[in-house]
Structures are given as structure tokens and as C-alpha cells.
């Protein structure tokens, strides 16, 4: 067995791993062709070792991170002993290493001495993944086959070339083939860039020392996490968070986390959550595990390396047949947003007694709208556009107020809404207003961040179609430790004829006419600590800024 490298080499390699993951992300951002990736950064990169353990990740989308090792493992399971140099694998199916269908994942193996050493994992949310509705989210779905094309681990490429027959088949199953192909190339490019960097590193250091370094890096992160957890009070607590509905008949879908903290270990049991539902708010198991890991990551110090070691103190349990561990075949597309956000919130609530200075007010909930139509300026060319503007607010916390328009628990400031000018130039949309929403923040000793107001006019060539997919018009982001909940979302549709109605969070087949205005009021973040504790000058400052 190779001895663990000296502390210096270890630090060098830890930096190298993180650096190459960041570089891959930058490449993907700059080369992708769909708005959801190149403007809103809905992608993540992970480096896993040959045992599918998470070695390094970067500041991308937290809900992806804890789930990506499942993708690496699924490839190894599907191709036992048959992963070869020059191969490239692809998957999206939630029961085969994915979380939900819109997230395509490329797994690129890296070899040294003809032995598998690492897997570069690139996960990116697609603008469209086929299925019954445009944009990947089908709020009417009651089974996964209505949500898009299912892809188990497949060998997408061999001998450093992508298989054009497979690419063509996949592209044919999506609505905007051009975006699909451009994004897939960008993902593959990023994965290969990472593989090149790793091959160089393997050449310099040798495979065995690198494996020993990985073991040591993971062990140090584990020890770091356990030291922090060990300082919290022991006990058992239950936290709850509630979804508005499942998009069908059911309202108030409860996520219940029973959290036991003993010594330096934590067990989260989600078995008492609501039974599996008819709609797409069910969660796949990788996604549920990832959500629980995300909650832990937020409560630890930011400096803890978020790798396999850091998550070892955490055990996640759930009964199959619940909304957090749906049986194969269930509709699950909303899960990376909901119930991910509620799982995090329930766990943070449960642990707020043990670690009050670490628990933060709730971050916003996701309420997306996907619009498809033709652009009159580009000969009616078809587009799919996803709403990322009017981001909700982040939660208040022990050190201060929340971050306005920074988004939801599952992204934590990692999704960008992108440029209004660019959106207007690329899509037939007019942003009449896009500003902070006064009064939306949850009150508290430290208030939440503000949500936003958006008035978006549709200027398509003829009627356009829209879906909504989200939650949080009944329940706002939770206040913590006496803080108040943030205001919930309120979205409405103002018709060109002057009529108006509120939008539900899960609607399919909405027909929009040119001149219609989508009026969005997004939720604020939850407050932290009792409002009576808030400093008067902080209240005065909000009032002076027109935000009270």
C-alpha cells in the first residue's frame, strides 16, 4: 500500500482537483448554447475516483453535488470491467444514476496504466428532454414515461469520438435539436478538458500516490466535519416543511425529518414524510440523499471540503413508497426543486436547536415558467425559454440579513437569471419591470432577502404555450428561531384584453397571446431570530431604500 503523501503534496493535489473542476465549469458555461446553461448556469461538475467517491466539486449547483456519485456508480455497475480508455458515457434516468430526466450526465473515465483512475462527471440541465411538454417539466405527468426520454447508462462515445447514431437519436427526441447538440458538445468538451488535466497529473505524480492522496483528502474532510458536528448538542428532533400541493388533488404534502445527532454522527430519517403522490413532486432516491447532504453542507463551515468524506457522518433513511423515495416509474421531474427545498428546510429546522447560530432562515422556493413559441424577428424560429428572473430571496442568519434575489435552497446563489438585454435580443419577450419586491422579506432579528417583481410581456409570433412548475404560493420560505416566513410567491397572468388570473404552480398547456403580461411577485427569504431583536436603524435603512 502506498503511504499517504506528505501534507504539502496533499494540499497541492487538493487544490489541483478543485482547480480542474472549476476550469471544466468555466468551459461549459462559455461554450453551451442554451440559455439555461450559458446564462443561468444550471450545471455542475464533479470529480469521482474509480470507486465513484466524490473527490472534488466546485461552486456550482448544490442539489446536483451529492447526487453525482450515483451517476458514476451507475456507469460502473452497468459496464462492469468494460469501461475503456476513450469511452464516454451518458445517462439521465433517476433509477439508473440520475436525479430527474432533464439533467443529462456525462461520465468520462480517466485511465493510467490501463487502469481506471477517475471519472469526470458533468451534469447539465437540458432546455428540453422530449416528453409530453416542452421544457422538461410536465405538471400533468403521473408516470415517468410522460416526462421525457429515459436514458440508462449508455456508451455515447468510444475511441474519443461521439457515436453520431446515438447523438442523432437523442437529438431527435428533443424539441430544439440545435440547442441539444450544442449543449452536448459543450458537456463533452468540458469532460475531456478535465480528463486531459487528470492525465497530466497522473503522469506527474503516478497513479498510486494519487489514489493515496485521494484517501487522505477524504479522510481529512471527514475528520473536519466530525469535529464540527461533535461540538453540537446531542438529541433527537423533528423538523417539518410543507409543499403546497402535488399538482393534482392533493394539497399540503408534508416532509418530515426525524434527525438524531449522537457524538459526531447524524441520522436523518425521512420515513414519516407523506406517501408517494400522483404528481411530479416525488423524489428519486439519489435526489433525496443529495438534498440531505446539501442541508449538512450548509450547516458545516464553508471551508469544509464538500467531498465523500464530509458526508460520511450522515446517514439518510427513508421508506420506499414515500414522496421522498418514490417507486420506479413515478413522476419525479420537480424533485430537484421540490421536495429538495423542503427536505433541506425540515432538516435545518430540526437541527436549529442543536446549532442555532448555524441554522439560517429559509431560502426561496422555485416557481418556474417555461415558454415556447416563435420569434417574429427570426422568421418565427421556435424557442424554449425558462424563467430564471425574479429570483426569490435567501434566508436571514446569525451574522446578518439574507441575500436578495439569490434564489432557492437548492441553488443558493448559483443560478443566474442572466441579462435582460440578452433575453430581449434572443427571445420575443419584453421586461417592462424587474426590481426588488418591497415587503417580501421575512421579518426577524436578521430579515430574509427580498424577492422580485417582474412584468414580462409576450411578443411572440402568434400564440405561445407555457407550463409552470414550482411551489410556494401557499407556503413561504420558513422563518427560523422566531423569525417570520418570507412572503409566498404570487404569479398572475394579465391578458391583453384586460382580464387577469392567478397562476397555479403546476399548470400545463397554458396558451399565451402576444400582448399578455406575466406578472410575477417572487417570495422573500425567511427571517432569523425574533423581529423584536431587529435594530431600529436597520429598519430605518430598509424604509429609506423603499423596501419596507
Amino acid at each position: 500500500m502506498t503511504p499517504s503523501p506528505d501534507p504539502v503534496t496533499l494540499a497541492v493535489l487538493e487544490n489541483r482537483f478543485r482547480g480542474l473542476v472549476e476550469e471544466m465549469g468555466e468551459a461549459l458555461l462559455r461554450t453551451a448554447t442554451s440559455q439555461i446553461l450559458n446564462s443561468s448556469r444550471d450545471f455542475s461538475i464533479a470529480l469521482c475516483d474509480s470507486q465513484a467517491r466524490l473527490v472534488a466539486q466546485a461552486d456550482h449547483i448544490p442539489v446536483h453535488v451529492g447526487a453525482m456519485p450515483f451517476a458514476a456508480a451507475a456507469v460502473l455497475d452497468a459496464f462492469p470491467g468494460a469501461v475503456r480508455p476513450g469511452d464516454c458515457f451518458l445517462l439521465n434516468d433517476p433509477w439508473h444514476g440520475g436525479s430527474h430526466l432533464p439533467d443529462l450526465t456525462i461520465v468520462q473515465p480517466v485511465f493510467a496504466d490501463r487502469t481506471l483512475q477517475f471519472l469526470c462527471v458533468v451534469r447539465a440541465h437540458q432546455s428540453d428532454i422530449g416528453g409530453a411538454t416542452h421544457g422538461g417539466y410536465n405538471p400533468s405527468a403521473t408516470e415517468i414515461w410522460q416526462e421525457g426520454i429515459r436514458i440508462p447508462p449508455i456508451r455515447l462515445g468510444e475511441r474519443d469520438e461521439l457515436r453520431e447514431d446515438l447523438v442523432a437519436m437523442l437529438a431527435l427526441n428533443t424539441r430544439i435539436q440545435r440547442d441539444f447538440r450544442g449543449d452536448l458538445m459543450a458537456m463533452w468538451g468540458a469532460a475531456r478538458l478535465g480528463a486531459r488535466r487528470l492525465e497530466a497529473l497522473l503522469g506527474t505524480h503516478g497513479a498510486a500516490p494519487l489514489r493515496a492522496a485521494v484517501d487522505a483528502i477524504l479522510d481529512l474532510a471527514e475528520a473536519h466535519a466530525r469535529r464540527i458536528i461533535g461540538a453540537w448538542a446531542d438529541g433527537e428532533w423533528t423538523g417539518e416543511a410543507v409543499l403546497d400541493d402535488d399538482g393534482h388533488a392533493l394539497t399540503n404534502v408534508t416532509i418530515r425529518a426525524r434527525v438524531t445527532k449522537r457524538g459526531d454522527a447524524i441520522t436523518v430519517d425521512l420515513s414519516d414524510s407523506a406517501p408517494q403522490t400522483a404528481g411530479f413532486v416525488n423524489s428519486s432516491w439519489p435526489n433525496t440523499v443529495s438534498a440531505a447532504r446539501m442541508a449538512l453542507a450548509y450547516l458545516l463551515d464553508p471551508e469544509v471540503a464538500k467531498n465523500d468524506g464530509a458526508f460520511r457522518p450522515l446517514t439518510v433513511l427513508a421508506r420506499e413508497g414515500t414522496v421522498v423515495r418514490a417507486a420506479e416509474g413515478a413522476a419525479v421531474t420537480l424533485c430537484t426543486s421540490h421536495p429538495s427545498n423542503e427536505i433541506v428546510e425540515a432538516i435545518v429546522k430540526a437541527l436549529s436547536t442543536a446549532a442555532p447560530d448555524r441554522a439560517m432562515g429559509g431560502w426561496g422556493r422555485r416557481f418556474r415558467v417555461a415558454i415556447t413559441g416563435g420569434d417574429p424577428r427570426r422568421a418565427g424560429r421556435r424557442f424554449v425559454w425558462h424563467l430564471f428572473h425574479a429570483r426569490p430571496g435567501g434566508g436571514g442568519h446569525a451574522r446578518g440579513d439574507g441575500w436578495s434575489c439569490a434564489g432557492e435552497w437548492h441553488s443558493a446563489g448559483g443560478l443566474k437569471f442572466g441579462s435582460v438585454e440578452m433575453a430581449e435580443a434572443r427571445f420575443p419577450l419584453f421586461f417592462a419591470r424587474h426590481e426588488f419586491r418591497p415587503g417580501s422579506a421575512g421579518d426577524g432579528t436578521h430579515r430574509g432577502g427580498f424577492g422580485a417583481e417582474l412584468e414580462l410581456r409576450i411578443e411572440t409570433a402568434g400564440p405561445a404555450r407555457a407550463n409552470t412548475a414550482g411551489d410556494g404560493v401557499r407556503h413561504g420560505a420558513a422563518g427560523m428561531l422566531g423569525g417570520r416566513d418570507g412572503a409566498p410567491h404570487r404569479y398572475s397572468l394579465l391578458r391583453a384584453d384586460g382580464s387577469s388570473r392567478d397562476l397555479r404552480t403546476k399548470e400545463a398547456g397554458l396558451v399565451l397571446s402576444p400582448g399578455d403580461v406575466l406578472v410575477v411577485r417572487s417570495g422573500g427569504g425567511g427571517g432569523w431570530g425574533p423581529p423584536e431583536g431587529r435594530m431600529p436603524d436597520a429598519r430605518a435603512a430598509d424604509a429609506a431604500e423603499g423596501l419596507a
Binding site: D6, P7, V8, A11, G19, E23, L29, R30, T31, T33, S34, Q35, N38, R41, D59, G182, M185, G189, A190, L193, R197, L220, A221, A223, H224, A297, Y298, L300, P302, V304, A305, R358, R377, F388, R399, G400, D401, W403, C405, A406, G407, A412, G413, G414, L415, K416, F417, S419, V420, E421, M422, A425, R433, H434, E435, F436, G449, A452, E545, L547
Partner: protein, 683 residues
């Protein structure tokens, strides 16, 4: 030395360096303490010291000075310390939170207990104008006079020093911004007015607005400072042109620097890059990594095929400045960086620095934590009696005690710990170089590491080894190289045009027309600054049809005389895309977004300060030092006492009053007659 003189002035954190070039090609360096409250005093002090060294009066020096080039950190410091001007903003109604929303992106993904930074311009001073352009530049809502008047009254009440005018789509049509600017200049004379369509005429409002607000926030400060400096210089007898080095590495007259003050944010470290470019031209080689190591930070930049890389993603003090700027990577790693045990149980070096006060433990100023300089002293790389030419005695005992504290925590010995600190500093520096090279898709192995600033010489060989670089150069004037570099800088004026409303690649005649038009404009502007025939540099920002980020593609290698120019430009883009991102999409449409032409006026340069021609001197020393865990007796050579072409084999030390170069075993150094020590590393 005799005049007429040319003078470069580099204001650093601690010292203001003044380098003077005489008409006979000789060089003089003077230093004065930096005066942070008003840097112009320190500049005049430095000039006075220089005059005294040359044995002339300040007036005699300055009246005989034909050009003065200045690098300033005024804008940088104002942003980092948040001492900016009171700035108001006029913006499109319904969109006044663009700069505070930051596109929804928050740094530090896993720090949910991080609060947002206060915006440079508070919301109450972000005032709405009722007006709106569409994405095609067409007027959707005409500019409403009443909203303009109301905003002006609010700005008057707030007593603002600057106004940033930032309207949606103004890059397509600046007329609303210009109308508003005229009204403000009329109503509020003396207030600094800046327009987004003027500062950064390109799409993406967050970048454009943020840059314009930064420009407003530092404009009055930079303008005021440069005005005071110019006045002091005039009073002292200087009548030549005063130029300021900008973030993109070119120099501009004072009025231009004040107009685009946000463009001076990297004025400080830009001189080092300019020096690298000059040395590249002088024969050092055209692929260099500049490596400027000071007390608290290290600045790294890339010079590729004789050109410095430029980028537009700069953030200073948390504020986005999307102006073209040298791609300088600044790291919190220098001689003063402190080594400690990180929260995760890992040994860490930096980013905290001992600074000038208390300084490293060995300075004896009360520092007790081990800094990189302490480790270097413990390892024997520095001589406690010869630091800064013996002007500062170093306390070896204090350095050892500081290193021992950390060694105990780690359970290792003193020398292992010191070697670890030295090595981790090397790692941080190497990572900085990787950011500047590898992360840009450039393999540093064929590059020469140009090491300068006080502390680079001790780390250069190890850093180069880590990166697989084979060649290092350390100039004789290492400690004042940035100021010298400013005198080697070209005058550069770039004009660009975004091809609005064009889909794809323009046709042959249109393409040639655009570049010809830009060239005429660039030549005309440069001719206002200096006579002569400038060099012309062409480039274009291009992307594939559906991408939204362009990549800058240099076009000087394209044959402009040949037929089918559009295909040649597309081919240059495909190649660049493949080099950066591993693939190209040859069937995909290529879009030319922005055409750029720069007119570059070459100022007469000067050779690097060369060593005097004389007899070889015997090595000093030896000095006992630890390399790779072994204690060796290293010969010490005086840098200024080496003869041209004299060779020194590592392990050895080459030392001047202001810099020390550590040669590792296998290194072979040779003093180049053109003024630098050139080190070949073993394969």
C-alpha cells in the same frame, strides 16, 4: 547620466519607485515612502530624491524631462477600502436594482451565513427615468422630461459628486443617455457625469451598469488626484506630457484616464507586464510569464507570442469592471504571507499577511506567526546580515521560534516545517501561474518565467519546476522593474464596433469596410497623441450561433491580402475554440460580434539596464542552506559583480542589495549582457 530624461513612477503599497532613463541610455532608481492620503506628495518626494541622487535641482530635472509615465493605485485603493465618491445613478424605470441584484449570483456557494456587500450606489440614489429602448434600439417609450427633472432634483438634494447614467439597450442607441447627461451637466455643473454607452458600449446590462457605476464612484477621486499631481508637477517645472498606465497596459493622457477612471484599476501592476513586453522585444523570448512577488501579494500575467493576454472579467473590491484589462492574476501570497494550521487540519500559507507592520517575525516588529520570509531565513536562503544590502538586520532566532510553533502543532521538525512553508508558498504561486496559463488553455512549459519584485528570486526555480517550465529570467533591476516598464509602454488606442443586427459573419466587402473604418478611426485618435506610423492590431470577438459568450480571436496571423476573408476569420475562430475547449463545430454558423482594431504607437524604448563590463569577481559566501532536506554550503555571487556570459551552476545564490536568487541543483545561470540573469533548468 544626462537629459533629456524619461521618468516612470510606480506607486506601491509601501514604496514609490521612480526610475529615470537618461539620454545616454543609463538608468537610475530612487525610492520614497508612499503617502496614502495623497499619493502625489510621495511622487514629488521620489522625484526630489532622484534629483538629489543625480546632483541637480528638482526644477532642472523636470524641465529637462520629456515624458513622465505614472502607475497609480488610487482607484484600486478607493474600491478596496470603500472610500468612493458619492455617486447617483439614472436608470430605466422599472430596472433600478440591476447593480444590486448581480444577476442573482452570489459568491461562496456554501457560505449561507454571508451577507451581501453594500452597493456602491444606494437604492435611494438609483433614480428612474421614464424611457425605454427595445432590443433593436428602437424607442419603446420616449424619454420623459418630467422624470428627468425629478431625478435631477433628487441628485441635487443628495449633493452627489458623480452621476452614472445607465439605460437599457443604450449600447444600441445612446441618445437618451446623452440627453440626460446634457441636462445634468447644465443643472449640476462640476458633477462628474459618466454614461454606460460611453464607458462600455456593449450588450449585457449588469456588466455595463456595474462598470459605469464604478467609473462614477472613482472618477472624481482619480480625476482630482491626477489634477493635483499635474499641478504639482507643473509648479515644480515639468512641462512635458504626463501619461497614466491603464488596466489594459497601454498609456493614456491624464484627461483620458480621468474620463475612464475605472480603467485605472490595474494601473499599479500593469507596469510589470509592460516591462515583460519590453524584455520580450529585447530578446528575452516572446513567451513569458511575468511573476512579480512583493510583500503581501504576487501578480502574474501571461505574455504569449510577444503579446499580453487581455480579459474582461475583472472584479475589484467585489465590483465588476468589464473593461478590457490585462489578465493579471493577483494572489495573496508573498514574503509576508503567514503559515498556519487550517481548520481542516491541513497546513496553509496565506492569504493573511504580516504586512509591513508587524512584518514577518524576523523583522523583529512583534510578529510571532511564521511568514514565508521567516521560513526562507530558517532554511538559510537569506543572510540575516545582508537583507536589503544590510540596511535591515533579520532576527534568525525569532524566525526559528515562529516556525517551531507551527512545527509542534503539525508534529514535524523545524526544517521540515520551514521547507513546507516555502513549498506551500511555491504551490500558491504556481497555482496563480496556472490560473494565468493553464486555465486560459495555455501550457506554461514552453514559457520563460520572468521573476521580479523583491521576493520572486527565492521561489522562481521551484515554481518553474512545479510547472514544468525550463527557463527563468531575473532582471538586474528586479526591484524597480514595474516603473521601468512604464517607460517601455506603447501608446495604444483601440476602437471596436459591435455588429448589431448582423447575423453570422458579414460578407467580404462589409467585413473589409468595417476593419478599414476602425483602422482609420484608431489612427486618427492616436495621431492626436503622438506623431509617426502606428502598428495596427486586429482582433474579433466571435462565437458559434447559439452561444452567448464570445472568445477573443487575434487576427494578425490572418492573411488579409488573400481571398475569402470571412472563411479565414471563421477558420481562425474554429482553431481557437478547439485549442481552448477541445472541440470545434465546423458545420455551425460563426458569428462575428465585435470587430476590434488597435493603433499602437511604439515609443522609443531603451535597453534593460546592462551590467558593467569588467573583471569577474570571486564568489562570496559560502552560505549554509537546506535544499530538499539536505544542508549544503552554497556559493554566493554578487549579482552586479557577475560578468556578461559568466555562468553559475546551482545550487548557488545570486544576490544584489534588493533581490536574492536561489539556484537549485542542476540549474545553470548565465548573465545576459542585455541585463538579466538567465537560468536553464534541468530536464
Amino acid at each position: 547620466m544626462h537629459g533629456p530624461y524619461r521618468i516612470g513612477v510606480d506607486v506601491g503599497g509601501t514604496f514609490t519607485d521612480v526610475v529615470c532613463l537618461g539620454a545616454d541610455g543609463s538608468t537610475a532608481l530612487a525610492k520614497a515612502a508612499t503617502t496614502p492620503d495623497d499619493q502625489s506628495r510621495g511622487v514629488l518626494d521620489g522625484l526630489a530624491t532622484l534629483a538629489a541622487d543625480l546632483g541637480v535641482t528638482l526644477a532642472a530635472l523636470l524641465t529637462n524631462t520629456e515624458r513622465l509615465v505614472h502607475g497609480t493605485t488610487v482607484a484600486t485603493n478607493a474600491l478596496l477600502e470603500r472610500r468612493t465618491a458619492r455617486v447617483g445613478m439614472l436608470t430605466t424605470e422599472g430596472h433600478r436594482d440591476v447593480v444590486e441584484m448581480r444577476e442573482g449570483l452570489k459568491p461562496e456557494r456554501y457560505d449561507l451565513r454571508l451577507s451581501p456587500p453594500p452597493p456602491l450606489v444606494p437604492r435611494r440614489l438609483r433614480l428612474p427615468l421614464r424611457e425605454r429602448l427595445g432590443a433593436g434600439g428602437e424607442v419603446a417609450v420616449p424619454l420623459d422630461e418630467a422624470s428627468l427633472q425629478a431625478a435631477i432634483e433628487a441628485l441635487r438634494d443628495a449633493d452627489v459628486e458623480a452621476v452614472a447614467i445607465c439605460l437599457l439597450h443604450a449600447w444600441r442607441d445612446p441618445s437618451h443617455e446623452r440627453t440626460a447627461a446634457e441636462a445634468i451637466r447644465h443643472a449640476l455643473p462640476g458633477v462628474y457625469v459618466t454614461l454606460s454607452s460611453d464607458v462600455l458600449p456593449q450588450i449585457k446590462e449588469y456588466e455595463r451598469f456595474s462598470t459605469t457605476v464604478v467609473n462614477g464612484a472613482v472618477g472624481p477621486i482619480v480625476g482630482g488626484y491626477l489634477g493635483r499631481l499635474e499641478t504639482r508637477l507643473r509648479e515644480a517645472g515639468f512641462h512635458g506630457p504626463l501619461f497614466v498606465i491603464l488596466s489594459h497596459g497601454g498609456v493614456a493622457p491624464v484627461a483620458e484616464a480621468a474620463r475612464l477612471a475605472a480603467g485605472t484599476a490595474l494601473s499599479g501592476p500593469a507596469g510589470g507586464v509592460a516591462a515583460g513586453l519590453a524584455l520580450a522585444r529585447a530578446g528575452l523570448g516572446e513567451d513569458l510569464v511575468t511573476f512579480d512577488v512583493g510583500g503581501t501579494s504576487t501578480d502574474v500575467a501571461l505574455i504569449e507570442r510577444g503579446e499580453a493576454a487581455l480579459g474582461r472579467g475583472r472584479v475589484v473590491g467585489g465590483e465588476r469592471i468589464a473593461l478590457e484589462s490585462l489578465d493579471i492574476v493577483t494572489l495573496g501570497a508573498g514574503g509576508g504571507s503567514i503559515a498556519h494550521l487550517g481548520a481542516g487540519g491541513m497546513m496553509r500559507v496565506g492569504p493573511r499577511s504580516a504586512g509591513a507592520v508587524p512584518g514577518p517575525a524576523c523583522y523583529g516588529g512583534g510578529g510571532w506567526e511564521p511568514a514565508v520570509t521567516d521560513a526562507n531565513l530558517v532554511l538559510g536562503y537569506l543572510d540575516p546580515d545582508r537583507f536589503l544590502g544590510g540596511r535591515r538586520r533579520l532576527d534568525l532566532g525569532a524566525a526559528q521560534a515562529a516556525v517551531d510553533r507551527l512545527a509542534t502543532l503539525l508534529g514535524i521538525g523545524r526544517l521540515d516545517c520551514a521547507a513546507g512553508i516555502h513549498a506551500l508558498a511555491n504551490v500558491a504561486m504556481a497555482d496563480g501561474i496556472r490560473l494565468a496559463t493553464v486555465r486560459r488553455g495555455v501550457d506554461p512549459r514552453g514559457f520563460t518565467l520572468l521573476a521580479f519584485g523583491g521576493a520572486a528570486g527565492l521561489h522562481a526555480s521551484a515554481v518553474a519546476r512545479d510547472l514544468g517550465m525550463r527557463r527563468i529570467a531575473v532582471p538586474l533591476l528586479a526591484a524597480g522593474l514595474s516603473a521601468w516598464g512604464m517607460l517601455q509602454t506603447d501608446l495604444r488606442y483601440e476602437v471596436s464596433r459591435s455588429l448589431v443586427g448582423v447575423e453570422g459573419m458579414p460578407g467580404e466587402p462589409a467585413l473589409r469596410g468595417i476593419f478599414a473604418e476602425l483602422e482609420t478611426a484608431a489612427r486618427r485618435r492616436l495621431a492626436e497623441w503622438m506623431p509617426g506610423d502606428p502598428a495596427i492590431r486586429r482582433s474579433a470577438d466571435m462565437r458559434y450561433g447559439e452561444q452567448v459568450f464570445e472568445i477573443g480571436v487575434p487576427l494578425d496571423a490572418v492573411d488579409w491580402g488573400g481571398a475569402d476573408l470571412p472563411s479565414r476569420l471563421a477558420e481562425a475562430f474554429h482553431r481557437r475554440h478547439e485549442a481552448l475547449f477541445t472541440y470545434a463545430m465546423h458545420g455551425e454558423e460563426v458569428v462575428l460580434v465585435t470587430a476590434r482594431v488597435a493603433a499602437v504607437g511604439r515609443l522609443p524604448g531603451s535597453p534593460a539596464p546592462a551590467p558593467p563590463d569588467r573583471e569577474a569577481a570571486a564568489p562570496l559566501g559560502p552560505r549554509r542552506a537546506v535544499i530538499d532536506g539536505r544542508e549544503l554550503a552554497l556559493p554566493v555571487h554578487g549579482f552586479e559583480r557577475l560578468m556578461p556570459d559568466q555562468r553559475v551552476a546551482g545550487p548557488a545564490i545570486v544576490e544584489s542589495d534588493t533581490t536574492t536568487v536561489l539556484l537549485l541543483p542542476g540549474d545553470l545561470a548565465r548573465l545576459d549582457a542585455r541585463g538579466w540573469l538567465e537560468v536553464e533548468l534541468p530536464a
